[in-house]
């Protein structure tokens, strides 16, 4: 049996989650200290992938990253194409999982007591240090929750991926794509096997995170 969907899915979700973590937390940090119309517009843009059907998101990505799209044209100058390649699966996964990361991180950061941030500032800490040593550690549980959501969403991503990356066995065929085609072809056992693999990965992830947070609490002596 060809195990390539497993490796492709794992690599795609891990890389996508890492990118989502940095972009999502960064955007949330920027947004949590801003008010006004522009900030709301940014909110809407980040929420869009959650509202639109994944296939539609994929279609937009195809228009942007495609050979005739603005970013696609730019890449062509360096003789590179991203559509129908492995990076395309990462792009799709990042775009659909970013809203979950962004919302969780933003909610967590806005829950942080502003007095603590003020206190750090009066003690002479730079904004970066305030964020890194006060805001982020306090918002950490929310960030972890967002990361789990983002990873799960990236692992399950199907519609946008199929649109921008196509189905190329051994290159862009992720586990959800394998399951879809197995179901459509009536290969129920193959479909169930891969569903099992997906569930196993999720359980391992959740178990790992649970164990790790318990460990953190024990060493830090919180609760």
């Amino acid at each position: 049996m060809d195990l390539s969907p497993l490796w492709i899915s794992l690599a795609t979700s891990l890389v996508a989650t890492a990118i989502t973590l940095f972009v999502g937390v960064g955007a949330a940090a920027w947004r949590s200290s801003r008010r006004g119309f522009f900030a709301v517009v940014v909110d809407c843009v980040f929420l869009l992938p959650l509202v639109l059907p994944p296939t539609v998101v994929g279609f937009f990505l195809l228009l942007i990253f495609g050979r005739r799209g603005p970013i696609g044209q730019l890449l062509l100058r360096f003789d590179a194409t991203v559509v129908f390649s492995w990076p395309a699966t990462v792009i799709a996964a990042v775009v659909v999982s970013l809203p979950l990361m962004y919302l969780s991180a933003r909610a967590a950061l806005e829950m942080v007591d502003p007095h603590l941030l003020e206190a750090a500032r009066t003690l002479g800490a730079t904004e970066w240090r305030v964020f890194r040593e006060v805001a982020l550690p306090l918002a950490w549980p929310g960030v972890i929750a967002g990361t789990i959501l983002a990873f799960a969403r990236a692992l399950g991503e199907f519609g946008a991926t199929l649109m921008i990356a196509g189905d190329i066995p051994g290159r862009t065929e992720t586990i959800p794509i394998t399951i879809y085609f197995a179901v459509e072809a009536g290969q129920m056992w193959r479909a169930l096997l891969w569903c099992g693999a997906d569930v196993a990965i999720s359980l391992l992830l959740l178990g790992g995170v649970y164990y790790w947070t318990q460990l953190q609490r024990a060493t830090r002596g919180i609760r």
Binding site: L62, G66, R67, A185
Partner: protein
């Protein structure tokens, strides 16, 4: 004090209203089915959409009281829906494979299966691209991506694979193949210029002004592209369903099918 009972009353009213709403919603489809004996559901391959959207109103106009509900999807998806008990009276497939499977499972009403229309398989390329001028060009190194339906699930993809094999191009093209989940997606890939070429039905190629037909696959290069239809055994209105099948094979419907690029099947009356 008098505010509290009022509040309760309001809430009770709201709950009662919601309950009535839910009961009404739950009951609606049941009464709807019970009263309209002349309604049938046709589960048809998505590539038939344009033609059937025109044919169904024609039939409803001709037979007063008849109501044709159309449900479109991939032939494989429709097959699974019906196997799982989805309510449908007529199945109109884009390939024999799905119909054969359902016949073996005994889901068809005996003697109602017949071939309605034929389609062609064509190679398409973006309007503004000159890279692909015939099937042989697919092997050229400038051609980076060739889109076709996933052969196990999309009939058009299977025909495309057979054509490539027939032309002895499959090995040269294999590394460039991008599988799509349906013909519509193949069309999108080529329209946006992301695939240099793709295989779709002749009827699909006509729906887009952004692609051109490079070449039509010869009839001997792939299995016959035939669209069979049949009445399903689970139907509650077999007479209406049979009459609609007759209408699909008749002259009036044929004119519409031809308009959208289909050809009438050679032997529409035969085949069990």
């Amino acid at each position: 004090m008098s505010n509290l009972p009022d509040g309760f009353k309001m809430r009770r009213l709201a709950v009662a209203g919601l309950l009535i709403f839910f009961v009404a919603v739950a009951a609606f489809p049941v009464t709807g089915l019970g009263q309209q004996g002349g309604a049938i559901t046709v589960s048809a391959a998505i590539s038939l959409k344009d033609a059937l959207d025109e044919i169904a109103p024609m039939y409803e106009k001709r037979v007063p009281g008849a109501k044709i509900a159309l449900n479109f999807g991939g032939s494989g998806t429709l097959q699974h829906q019906i196997e799982q008990g989805a309510p449908a009276d007529v199945f109109f497939s884009a390939a024999e494979k799905q119909m054969n499977a359902m016949e073996e499972e005994g889901l068809l009403l005996n003697g109602t299966r017949r071939d309605i229309v034929l389609n062609t398989l064509v190679l398409i390329a973006p309007n503004d691209s000159k890279v692909v001028e015939n099937f042989g060009d697919l092997a050229r190194p400038e051609v980076k991506a060739v889109a076709l339906g996933e052969p196990n699930t999309v009939p058009a993809g299977l025909y495309a694979q057979q054509t490539l094999e027939h032309l002895r191009l499959l090995e040269a093209v294999r590394k460039k193949i991008v599988y799509a989940k349906d013909v519509r997606a193949v069309l999108t890939f080529v329209e946006t210029g992301n695939a240099d070429a793709g295989f779709v039905y002749g009827t699909d190629a006509r729906t887009s002004s952004m692609v051109r037909v490079v070449e039509t696959a010869t009839a001997d290069s792939h299995d016959e592209i035939v669209y069979p239809a049949a009445v399903l055994k689970a139907t509650k209105s077999p007479e209406l369903a049979k009459a609609f099948l007759d209408f699909l094979a008749g002259d009036g419907a044929r004119g519409v099918f031809v308009k959208y690029g289909f050809a009438a099947a050679e032997n529409p009356a035969g085949k069990n």
